[in-house]
């Protein structure tokens, strides 16, 4: 069974501190939808950092897209990072660039020409309800608007793996539902989605999603379904 990510006895510590993640053993099946939950400080953001290649594990092995990347040279990482969309908890928008340029960044980094950037970016901004804010810079946008720009930037490249850290934390219920609809639509197209959230309502409203629960840096997986994920139910096209 194809797995987009495989963690094998993974541990992570920052500097000389205690391990913030311990003995993580799991697989994320390609095309699935996962919610990552756990109390504050449980290690959710650290686990996501490992997933989007912002951090290397201090022990164990991580395979992404079938490639062992725990000790891969840094020159080998950019092509894998381009296959991952990330929605950061703090948005990480570049303040001096317009919303349009922020969303266009992944396309430009991938080498897209200006004429191939304009259409998809305008379309994506319209989808997240910011068509009229394309030239606005992040400091002039509200928290919710910034979050939507961050989400648009994460999905513009149609990533194979989408990683989102509290993506609906700053938007109202209607926009949260709409954004989850976007994530679900991407998931139907084959993108594996991992969303870290505390929002129980969001989890219960997403049919077919699996739960990854972290407690004190370890994975709580009493059913073993993350280690040996079951075949997903057939989806309607």
């Amino acid at each position: 069974m194809a797995a987009v990510a495989e963690f094998d006895s993974v541990g992570l510590r920052y500097g000389t501190g205690a391990e913030v993640l311990r003995d993580l053993d799991f697989r994320l099946r390609t095309g699935s939808f996962y919610f990552l939950t756990g109390a504050s400080g449980a290690g959710k953001t650290s686990l996501l950092k490992l997933l989007y290649l912002a951090q290397r594990p201090t022990r164990g092995r991580i395979k992404l897209f079938g490639e062992e990347l725990s000790e891969a040279p840094r020159e080998a990482l950019p092509p894998f990072r381009r296959r991952i969309g990330v929605v950061f908890q703090d948005f990480r928008l570049i303040r001096h660039l317009s919303a349009f340029d922020n969303v266009a960044l992944p396309l430009r980094v991938s080498g897209a020409k200006d004429e191939d950037v304009e259409g998809p970016v305008r379309e994506m901004l319209a989808w997240v309800g910011l068509a009229d804010r394309a030239s606005a810079r992040p400091p002039t946008l509200s928290g919710g608007e910034q979050q939507r720009v961050a989400i648009a930037r994460a999905v513009i490249n149609r990533p194979e793996l989408l990683v989102a850290d509290e993506p609906t934390g700053n938007v109202d219920a209607e926009m949260a539902s709409r954004l989850m609809g976007l994530f679900t639509a991407l998931n139907r197209l084959g993108t594996t989605v991992v969303v870290a959230t505390h929002d129980v309502g969001l989890i219960s409203a997403t049919a077919g999603a699996q739960l990854i629960r972290l407690e004190n840096g370890t994975l709580v997986d009493p059913t073993g379904s993350l280690r040996n994920p079951p075949r997903p139910p057939k989806r309607r096209a």
Binding site: P78, R81, R83, I84, L97, D101, V109, D114
Partner: protein
């Protein structure tokens, strides 16, 4: 090869500008200005040494103690010697006239022993011992002194000054490179967040380095051209004085080849700054994940 210089406006916007240029162009302008003046001095010294060396290579003086009562006979003997191409007498009275500039009326004192001189040029193969022998047959105390022996300390000093000028050019170039490294590191710190975001979405080190390389190349170009133009103006102002010095030293000044070398220096410095910036940025980026 130079595609990094011609990036789209969107990429240029990635490194925000506060509207005021950093001090890098000014530092490079000052360095270029200094380097060009020092290099010009070094080249002029080299030319002076060359001209002087060539001029005195075959030049000798026959010193005749006691004023040389038989000066005309001595000149005739020297001029007719094999290998001698020209000879010119400087009489005792002419010598005293010259010495008056330094000694005043004392130069006319009979107690001051002033020799007569015969300057002559001789081919490389001329037999100087034979010439001296012929002269001593007329005036027993006559002796030949080679000009290159007298001027040798001066030529040595000129060579040393050239080496000092070359060393200063290298030192200032190294200082300019160090300033560029500091500027590159400062720029990396300023734009650390943008770099992290770019890395996060899959930008390579080369893509990031190109942005900084282009910014610093432009700063270096502006600085080195400004410094180069200022140095050219100063050199042009000094040209009158240099021509005067050139006349004194037998026409030594900056030739066309020297001017081409000096004109290429700002471009060489721009290239050096760009290369150093690229290396510094890539090294700093390698320290990230």
């Amino acid at each position: 090869m130079f595609d990094w210089l011609f990036v789209a406006p969107a990429e240029r916007r990635l490194l925000a500008s506060s509207g005021r240029r950093a001090p890098t162009p000014w530092v490079i302008a000052i360095m270029t200005f200094s380097i060009m003046l020092i290099a010009a001095t070094g080249l002029a010294l080299a030319n002076t040494a060359g001209v002087l060396s060539r001029a005195i290579e075959s030049r000798y003086a026959l010193e005749v103690p006691g004023g040389g009562a038989n000066l005309n006979a001595l000149v005739g003997a020297v001029r007719s010697s094999p290998g001698v191409t020209s000879a010119e007498a400087v009489s005792e009275s002419q010598m005293r006239q010259t010495l008056k500039k330094w000694l005043g009326p004392e130069a006319d004192s009979a107690e001051l022993p002033v020799p007569a001189l015969i300057h002559f040029d001789a081919d490389a193969g001329a037999d100087l011992t034979a010439i001296q022998g012929r002269a001593q047959a007329i005036a027993s105390g006559a002796r030949i002194v080679a000009h290159r022996d007298s001027v040798s300390p001066l030529l040595h000093s000129l060579t040393l000054l050239q080496a000092v000028a070359f060393g200063l050019v290298l030192l200032l170039s190294a200082a300019a490179a160090a300033a560029v490294v500091l500027a590159a590191r400062g720029s990396l710190d300023t734009h650390r967040f943008t770099i992290e975001v770019m890395h996060g979405i899959g930008a390579t080190d080369i893509q990031v380095a190109h942005l900084f390389q282009r910014k610093i190349a432009i700063d270096a170009f502006i600085g080195s051209i400004t410094g180069g133009v200022a140095a050219a103006l100063v050199l042009a102002l000094l040209a009158g004085g240099a021509a005067f010095v050139g006349e004194l030293t037998g026409g030594a000044s900056l030739g066309l080849k020297d001017i081409v070398v000096l004109a290429l220096l700002p471009f060489a410095l721009t290239g050096l700054a760009t290369w150093v910036a690229r290396a510094a940025v890539l090294k700093a980026l390698r320290e990230a994940l």
